[in-house]
Symmetry: C2
Subunit: 191 residues, 2 copies
């Protein structure tokens, strides 16, 4: 049984907890200033982008050797017209730089909470979790967890592809906020 800790308390934390629990993982939801169980193998950072630095400052040492999943969409909320990370980089790349001893994955940022909770995009199409990262074993672990929970998973390549996943997440957010997409829909992957 894989031990997973989810840092965060919002709808994404709840939805991911549901998926992974359904899949048989042992899941703990931990507040931003809570304590991580040392047995944790996978840590999901389910906090907004602006809260990540604080979470890393508090929990960084405890994340060494663990799989760390970044699901943030680092939107510049002042303009809602770009991402607030270097144009040739990604939030995930910055997290990986800050956590050289962790296995950082970008995932779960292109799936709205409702599509995780229901397992479908729009009611009919199965939800697919796209996973980017440089450690294949870590990607396989996360893919296994979400597949056990009833979702699909695709290896989206190296951590450099986090840039594209964040672009996709940003575009999807702009479309939902602009009422072109429902929060129960969005981009589905037809494989």
């Amino acid at each position: 049984m894989t031990h997973v800790s989810i840092i965060g308390s919002g709808s994404m934390a709840q939805a991911i907890s549901g998926v992974l629990t359904r899949g048989g993982a042992e899941v703990a939801i931990v507040g931003r200033d809570g304590t991580l169980d040392p047995a944790t193998e996978v840590v999901v950072l389910a906090v907004p982008h602006h809260a990540v630095a604080d979470v890393l400052a508090r929990h960084g040492a405890a994340l060494a050797g663990k799989i760390v999943v970044d699901l943030t969409n680092p939107v510049d909320f002042a303009t809602f017209d770009s991402l607030a990370v270097p144009a040739d980089g990604s939030a995930a790349a910055l997290i990986a730089e800050a956590l050289p001893q962790s296995h950082v994955l970008k995932a779960l940022n292109t799936t709205f909470a409702a599509t995780l909770a229901t397992g479908t995009v729009g009611g009919d199409v199965p939800t697919t979790v796209l996973i980017a990262g440089d450690d294949t074993t870590a990607k396989d672990t996360l893919a296994g967890l979400v597949e056990a929970g009833g979702l699909r998973a695709i290896d989206a390549g190296s951590l450099r592809r986090a840039r594209e996943l964040e672009s996709l997440g940003f575009l999807q957010l702009t479309l939902a906020i602009g009422e072109k997409l429902p929060w129960t829909g969005g981009f589905a992957v037809i494989a």
Copy 2:
């Protein structure tokens, strides 16, 4: 009846011609060194990114006042690990800069040719064309053309969103080439 010229001769040119003809547009497929009918209202640049500069050099003057649709995915084919345009820009932005008198749209770069030809992503989900651009009338014209041809269309925002559409197109290409997605599938939009 809207007059459309498609510059190019590959599978995308053929598929787009089919959609627009089905929708009642008068469509001409023009070789890269052919001549544009002056009655043309919409010009689709259905050529690879590396051929765009040459097309603009040949046809630039004739594109003034017209809607120009850029469907390129400017992948750096030497590395297949990034786009070959400035990280904070897009191929569409460069084309708009080169054609200040045209109404440049980014569209049709996130839909594989087979999904245009069949009208579905993977056989079941209707194909959606995402359209970014700064001219709302131009976007409405293109949306009307593709909707008349049986597809769906979504206004994806200003031309700055071309960056995200190109990221999406690039990611989709890497997944298809990596055999994670079929060329008949890919990203579908569930609205």
